[in-house]
Symmetry: C2
Subunit: 323 residues, 2 copies
């Protein structure tokens, strides 16, 4: 299935999410032109996987757009807010092939824009008028930020285990996917096993998604990715491919040298080559596929529907994507 | 009245707010020692004016601590989160006489700690199980962050009006006081005119509070303040005293030179002296007193009670404080 087919059952909702973004952007055109520019920069033309997850999860039960729409919007806003802060913290120059907010407006304004987006996201979450969903929203931001703090604490450290890696990607990526699917289930009035099934689906989908992201940082096409390959290593972040490389060659490893800032560019190139010329990427893909299969497995607790088939297809799709 | 007398009707609640903070800090001692250290640094031994406002507002009607306590905690957490981000953005070294989070742990971790505190604050707000309060919380964060963005946009600009100054301090300080009092009123099941009265009280109290803060940045005692005087000017922020100084002496003004980074330290000293040796401080105090009187006036809509008398006394107190 193509993405457009996967999103088919909720395409009306996705159009409305985009309208919400446009309203948000346009609402500041006259009153605060600089904020308008910043919002337009981050909100126009992004991916929509998280809103689609919320809407599809709801579509599996009761598709009440008046409740689902604010939460689908909140899912994407929260995601974008964390990206804006991530880029500010990493001092990244590009994201999705475009200059980052911190690059264009400075770190200080990037931090404040992120805060503003958190607030707008929170407002949309509150607009669902469902306290369980609001709590899920706050808990998710808490998991993400403490996960990022852990990542910042362990940056440039070689002593990391697979479990720590999993914990980290669960915190920074899977938690948001869980929020997207679980909130959709709650607002769609799913029964408890439906909420649990969609929660577990989101969690495993998130892990698969992030592993593929981490693979693409080694083997992706820079133009497709819109950022330089090897940027995780440059920022001192150990991901699955580098974890496996360290495991195979614990001594005299280029990663060690990158983290010691020794011939950094040359050693990044060397590490990328070593990973590419090994079976590491294959192994990583097999792990991602494993989580994708687990994600799909949890959908069995849901009633059969087109939305369920699309969620199943999405789990396949995200492992095969190249950007 | 002394502060201890003002807080008397809600001292049980304030003790419990502190217990909530201790739980939050201690909860990370074993699982995430660095976060534990950071939380201890920002949460132990702060001011409690915002929690006191929430609790006293509730005390004017129905003092249901199970609802008021999470919101009183959220008020202070949201405040602290914004301070952590402010200091990170301003690259400030000290706050309340101690090193800032960004100074001790770096800007990146300060941003993430702020995010984490926003999330915890949001979680406490959600624990009130009151959607109106949750919305008020998100709206407040939105007002604060867009206010700070406006401040960042206008930094080092001399073209600022009194109205812009008011809008700025309303955004960054009064909004949080409004949240504190209005949420207390809502959770205390105040009738509409009680909610409005406490809202207006919080707004005017916040303006008075911030004007005094801005005065103290010119005439305060560095040891009492715990930060260097003149720091607003150093950061390019025009406040009421500097606004009045610019009005009196539009040409060849030291502020102009500070903002052009010309003999910065010397010109800060000069600006401080010029303000101190004029009637500007007196004028500023008279404006602060005016807002304080307005704040007290709005309390007349509330039924007579000890809590109301204490809120009235607080409006007097904050104009007379020296730190």
């Amino acid at each position: 299935m193509q993405l457009s087919e996967i999103y088919e059952p909720v395409k009306d909702g996705l159009v409305q999410v985009e309208e919400q973004f446009n309203l948000l952007v346009e609402g500041k055109r006259d009153t605060f032109p600089e904020l308008h520019q910043m919002l337009r920069h981050v909100l126009v033309g992004g991916k929509v996987v998280r809103p689609a997850l919320t809407l599809l999860a709801g579509r599996c039960y009761h598709y009440d757009l008046s409740r689902l729409l604010p939460m689908a919007t909140a899912s994407e806003l929260l995601h974008i807010a964390t990206l804006v802060h991530d880029d500010a913290i990493d001092e990244a120059d590009t994201r999705r092939g475009r200059a980052t907010v911190n690059k264009l407006w400075g770190t200080d304004k990037a931090v404040l824009l992120g805060d503003y987006l958190f607030a707008r996201a929170g407002e949309f979450a509150a607009a669902t008028e469902n306290i369980a969903v609001v709590r899920l929203f706050s808990r998710t931001l808490q998991i993400i930020s403490s996960g990022e703090l852990k990542q910042a604490s362990s940056a440039f450290s070689l002593k990391q285990s697979f479990d720590q890696y999993l914990e980290r990607i669960a915190g920074k990526t899977a938690s948001l996917m869980v929020m997207a699917t679980e909130s959709g289930a709650i607002l769609g009035q799913a029964p408890p096993q439906g909420v649990q099934g969609l929660r577990d689906y989101g969690y495993n989908l998130g892990l698969a998604f992030q592993i593929v992201d981490d693979i693409l940082d080694f083997v992706g096409d820079e133009r497709e990715l819109g950022k330089p390959v090897g940027s995780d290593l440059a920022q001192g972040t150990i991901t699955l491919p580098s974890l496996l490389l360290l495991e195979r060659q614990p001594r005299d490893n280029p990663i060690e040298k990158i983290f010691r800032n020794q011939d950094k560019q040359e050693n990044i190139r060397l590490a990328l080559d070593m990973v590419r010329n090994s079976s590491i990427i294959e192994e990583c893909y097999s792990m991602a596929a494993d989580y994708s299969v687990r994600a799909a497995g949890h959908l069995k607790q849901l009633p059969e529907s087109q939305a369920r088939r699309c969620l199943r297809a999405l789990a396949d799709y995200i492992v095969k994507r190249n950007k």
